[in-house]
Amino acid sequence: MLSLSQLPVYTDAEISKINDPDLEQKLLEMGCTPGEIISVVRKAPFKGPIAIMVSSYMLSIRFSDACKIDVNIKNGS
């Protein structure tokens, strides 16, 4: 288990838990539900926003918010 902010670029992982009710609500309705496959595709410098791929589209979130998302790296990737 690690946080999304620690996930290496282009590594598939499963969303496990979002530890922040406000953020959770926002991300859930956009399809970031537990169990969804997610990967980091781009990072802005100086701990800027992170671009993630989820349900085949790209979404940006702030680094500090990515720290609150627990993910599990998928085996075999």
Binding site: Q25, L28, E29, G31, V41, M58, L59, D65
Partner: protein
Amino acid sequence: MEASKLNIVLAGNPNSGKTTLFNALTGLKQKVGNYPGITVEKKVADVDIVGHNVRIIDVPGIYSLYSKSIDEKVAQSIICDKFQDDYADVVVVVADASNLRRSIFLLTQIIDLKIPVVLALNMIDIASKKGIILDVNKLSFELGIEIIAINARKARGLLKLKDAIIRTISNQSDNYKTILDVNKVFGKIILEVNQIRGIQNDYASFLSLCGYDMGNTIEQKVKISVLSKDNELIVDRLQAKETVRRYKNIDIIISKSTKIVEVAGKYRVTEIIDKILMHPFFGYLIFLSILFLMFQAVFQWSSLPMDVIDGLFTKLSLWTASAIPQGILNDLLVNGVLAGIGGIVIFIPQIAFLFAFIVFLEDTGYMARVSFITDRFLKQVGLNGRSVIPLLSGVACAVPAIMSARTISNWKERLITIMVTPLMSCSARLPVYTLIISLIIPVDVYYGIFNLQGLVLMLFYILGFLAAIIIAFLLKFIIKSKERSFFVMEMPSYKIPDWKTVIYTIFEKVKIFLFDAGKIIIAISIILWFLSSYGPGEKFKQIEDKWQDKEFAQENIASEKLEYSYAGLIGKVIEPAIKPLGFDWKIGISLITSFAAREVFVGTMSTIYSVGDDDIVSIRERLRRERNKETGEPFFTTAVGISLMLFYAFAMQCMTTVAVVYRETNSIKWPLLQFLYLTVLAYLSSFIAFQLLS
């Protein structure tokens, strides 16, 4: 028949092609306005489809009915609240087939509310390129609604869609599928809410329980919230659970109706472009280069149409002046009304070109990337990556720019964006800068390319931006807010812009400038015309007598009359206050007239110095000859010029902006504060610059 006109509401995610479809369905019949009392853009069009007279309403893009920002609340209440004037007879959900899972979340919510709905499935070609093969019939069966495959950009499938809309309205049945049975998930509390509401609609009851406005009476709302408290419900938890369950059911439906195939050589254009445009170093470099090219192009392209407009208005003024009998009416029309309108119309080319660039960059998907790479820095100063568009638009005109801050859902960030946008150098400052720079800065060229005048101009644009950043940073500590700030933003795939959408959007922005700013500028132009054409006592008559039959009588009379007019008197009254900035009463008059719009400065200066026509070269030559009465030295020194430019860079000399800030913030406090801080900033910086330089 007006009352029974059918309302068709277009709903969908941002970037789903909803606006493109709206344009394709309605064309030039669309009207853009505001919802009463709130500042959310409302787009409607009355059109004829399949022999029915209907009203199509485009609502702001939403991901779900769980609305948060004011934009989203409007969309949600039009779909959910039966007592709304625009309440939907049928909802058309526009969905991006390549993002099916997320797109149909909103759709299934609407289905569960038992509202007649048609799905317009867009971008199926893109989905199949991604390897997603869709069985539309199967999906239609699973969702229990009509689905029409469309291509919004190529206007394909529209006839079928129109037929389906009319069929859905006329064959209304009660056989709605339920995608997620909230009654099963949450139990009898849903039935209790049904009882309070007096309607058997489980999902509407669920949303009511979560606190959304479903057209409930106050009494019902109170009862529901008491019920919620008695059961110790936590709305957040309720909603999260519902969302997760709904997505599970959606996943089942999608797995039944789509097939994923491996696409050979699956290289993604968007990903490759992003590698360059979102690069931690080159990304910024490219953005700055684009900005630079944008300015170069805008100034170059707009100079010709601006000259044409200028020429037309000069002719029109001359014609009006000779066609109408001499007198007050003639003077009012020529120097009040026509001068006012001319002063607005002249900016259209520049504003249109600037917005053309911004809308183009937005529609390609690039602006989302600019937000991405700038959020880190903008966040630091209390702004948001989404502030990029308002700030950039501010270079054209602060009025539509401030309105575009509506997409920032966090109130504090939106407010700071609104407060600092007027610091960006708008088009109206350019004529003032151009005149003064040509007066005080020599035409030197360094290293063959750097033109000193151009550099100084650029410096003033940068100065405006830096001031905006610094003030934003200060406001971050002054404005208190507990609301959380997010930067959860979709990065849409790159696409070639839809020209129709780009052109409509430019039209809209120019219209906002023309009508919002226009009204106020004309009104103030007329007031200023009065203040500068009339004065107290007999002085005017004496001036006319004095100059009778002398050389240059017209120019001299105009100039002396202005000195003794009400405007001139005000200029003299404020002279002691502006003397420390290096200004005399003549500039004082120009500062006052500039409150209509900054560019009025040039025209006023030409009248005061009795130049006859307001061509920049002749005004410049006249100003160069102006002497300081006390020292006999040239009056327009570098110190005076810089001081004056700084004043125009910061002062809030635009009544329209004040009015728009009032409307957007719905309070007198913020425009007042803005006016005060900008005035203080302008005064202090001019004061310091003049005292240091002279």
